[in-house]
């Protein structure tokens, strides 16, 4: 029985490429990975947003309206609903002039109990240090 930790580090802009969306969908896929593993073995994913990647957390995205696709905000909300650990780099939010009010912090409206964490980059570094594997997207 073992748990392997995957740290998804999202640094890509939303909607410019598919990378940040794929980071979230891959992280969420950790919920069904057990079908491939032995009983008791787990893969646990966390998602950290750094650099331009913090813009994926903006509230009020209009992906469906403008592109006819689900929003990255929706995927981010699902990750919180699934109790995934979500870290957002405080220094990078500050660079964009963003605060907690501008970004998705919880999934309460769909029944989620877990909240996103705004942390300094040093905390995200610790998350990477504690991970078995780091996946930068």
């Amino acid at each position: 029985m073992a748990t392997k930790k995957l740290a998804f580090i999202v640094r890509s802009l939303p909607y410019k490429t598919e990378a940040s969306r794929l980071a979230l969908t891959h992280a969420i896929a950790s919920q069904t990975v057990e079908i491939y593993l032995k009983d008791g073995d787990l893969v646990e994913a966390s998602v950290s947003y750094v650099g331009d990647g913090v813009l994926n957390c903006l509230k009020g995205q209009q992906g469906m309206k403008h592109y006819g696709i689900t929003t990255i905000e929706g995927h981010a909300k699902n990750s919180l609903l699934l109790d995934m650990r979500v870290l957002i780099c405080k220094e990078d939010l500050n660079k964009f002039g963003l605060t907690e009010d501008n970004i998705l912090m919880d999934a309460e409206d769909i029944g989620g109990e877990t909240k996103a964490n705004i942390v300094s980059y040093s905390e995200i570094q610790k998350e990477m240090d504690a991970a078995t594997h780091i996946l930068v997207c």
Binding site: E18, A19, A23, V33, H133, L135
Partner: protein
């Protein structure tokens, strides 16, 4: 010998990151390691048969078939990413696998190293 899991989002021809990933896989297999190779997003373009070799463009199909023949290389495309691009099961070259994203995460479980090339 170890196991390397490589994941990539980068497209065939449009980016050389996919070429780099395949070359890395080839080098690892030649050294006797096992490699699981995962493709998401535009990288699923590699899972389309009928690719032709031109001098101006990357041609990875032959290398991939040689790698599959070693028995130490598994290559898997994200099924949803491929279907969204119009690449169906019947378009997939021999020896390729098509699965959902959890296949990749499961592969990382017993990998000695994971190299994820997440850009486009």
């Amino acid at each position: 010998m170890g196991k390397l899991t490589i994941g990539t989002f980068s497209s065939l021809v449009g980016s050389l990151s996919l070429d780099f990933s395949v070359k890395l896989a080839e080098a690892a297999v030649k050294k006797g390691h096992k490699v699981d190779f995962w493709m998401s997003g535009n990288a699923t373009m590699l899972a389309k048969k009928g690719q032709k070799a031109f001098k101006d463009y990357s041609f990875l199909a032959k290398t991939i078939q040689d790698l599959i023949a070693t028995g130490n290389f598994q290559i898997c495309a994200c099924e949803a990413c491929a279907e969204a691009r119009g690449y169906h099961k019947e378009d997939c070259p021999d020896g390729f696998i098509r699965k959902s994203m959890d296949w990749y995460l499961a592969s990382t479980f017993d990998a000695d190293r994971v190299l994820h090339i997440g850009g486009d």
